[in-house]
């Protein structure tokens, strides 16, 4: 259900914990599964659960509790922090620009499925405002409207 490479990465996470504590690796394992699949279907969650020898419900609880798991298919996921420190330093304007450029609101996906826009809570990178995350892992700092346009163009080009 997951590639040998993903399983190797999960094994490496399990090894961080004492024997018999594989449950501790569940957050990382789900992130690895999401890297491969793009989102967490029930089948993927069940597979992670069986791989870690855990009841599915425990893994499902984690998947739905933590914000960065995609419980539905998404496009290139852009998450912008709009918390107060960022809002004061250009993020409110950047969010408007993103919505206009993509033609969608927060928690929506473009009709062609290529972009999903999310409003993020604090990344712990307020000094980089406006700051956004692409697909959870790429942090983009000081995002002026021009830089946002470049980013969207780059992601579009990659998709084509």
């Amino acid at each position: 259900m997951l590639s040998p490479d993903s399983l190797k990465r999960i094994d490496r996470e399990i090894a961080k914990y004492p024997a018999g504590r594989a449950q501790s690796a569940v957050i990382a394992a789900l992130a690895i599964a999401q890297d491969e699949k793009g989102w967490l279907s029930t089948e993927t969650i069940d597979f992670v659960a069986s791989y870690l020898s855990l009841p599915s419900i425990l893994v499902y609880e984690v998947a739905t509790f933590y914000e960065m798991y995609n419980m539905r298919p998404v496009g290139n996921k852009i998450t912008i922090c709009t918390n107060l420190p960022c809002a004061l330093h250009g993020a409110a304007q950047a969010a408007v620009h993103l919505k206009q450029s993509l033609g969608i609101d927060f928690d929506e996906t473009t009709a062609d499925g290529s972009f999903t826009l999310k409003q993020g809570e604090c990344f712990g990178a307020c000094g980089d405002a406006p700051v956004l995350l692409v697909d959870n892992k790429r942090l983009c700092s000081w995002m002026s409207n021009d830089k946002i346009d470049e980013l969207i163009a780059e992601l579009r080009a990659k998709a084509n």
Binding site: A22, A28, L30, P85
Partner: protein, 425 residues
Amino acid sequence: MNARSEFIDYGPEAIILAGLTGRNWRLADYVARGGYEALKKILTEKTPPQAIIAELKKSALRGRGGAGFPTGLKWSFVPQQYSGDKYLVCNSDEGEPGTFKDRDILRYNPHVLIEGMAIAAYAMGCRRGYNYIHGEIWDTYERCEEALEEAYQARYLCDNILGSGFSFHLYNQHGFGAYICGEETALLESLEGKKGLPRYKPPFPASYGLYGKPTTINNTETFAAVPWIINRGGEAFLNLGRPNNGGTKIFSVSGDVERPGNAKLLEMAGGMRAGRKLKACIPGGSSMPVLPGEAMMQTDMDYDSIAKAGSMLGSGGVIVMDETRCMVRSLLRVSYFYFEESCGQCTPCREGTGWLWRVLNRIEHGEGRNGDLELLTSVSDNIAGRTICALGDAAALPVKSFIKHFRDEFQYHIDHKRCLVPDYV
């Protein structure tokens, strides 16, 4: 907006971030700066663990995560005689709006944290430790993984470190988007692979922590101060600060300043943006009470002085708001954060945070009612102190303090259905 480079200079008085360029984070660089000398010293001299804890107490180092609890005292709570597993945990789940100092320690000087944790592990007899890193800063997590690899290869982390008989293994775990995991017992739950629901206390982590074993949890900046204290002594650290407030503290300055960054003073953040006037300031991350500009400019930036002024130093996240800012809208975003991040375990917080946000939302959108300010105060009072963890208090304190200091502005919104200050996006 000013163009920004990746790296900012921390100034001559920096301790943890001294001598950094943004590129010299590797083990060889750290060793060239005198790194791992403190660990070598205690291991070769076989310093008694009690002496290290005594030195920490002398230093008056207080927890840098927000609570300001004396570190040496916390370390003395771990049962020394306990023969089973004991754990050491670093809370790098930095996500308190306005706070972004630990990220800089982790990405620019990761080995200072590793050394600090190894010394702490020695002092408390822990053989295994975890560094829990905020999920949103993935490249920083990856750098910490690389730094750990370097430390293992150099055998600063292993069994029988430098032939001393002391063994310590350290691992990184990333979060995946949950503010509540910065609460220490929620963090432990998360390390165990569960939802981040804070635990009832007591029992405290010192007796019942990770996997039910004695555990000490400190903030990144706290551990990172430890090598300096061991090298130069607790007294030297104490003398850098103020009585009962030892050492230096990293402040993160954000909001309406020219150059948000980690600085000691407003001037280092380039001053107020566009030369405007300071209207309000939250001195310790968004969970702390707001202070009016005038009160802020008259206070010293240490734990006790800020407490005297009516707020808390918290995490050192200084959020600056200038005269063009609407206090209703500012508080609305803060309240949305706590509504979104409440774990839902305790009724007053789960229901109250949403209620606060909805009332503020209607005031902001010209639908405020007379009595709403009393309602907000009442809901706040019924959250604070009635929840398992401090998130409830963190949701209530901003509301109460914004209304206390800017009541006229809130009332104007209700009376006139519009804002007192010119709008911003």
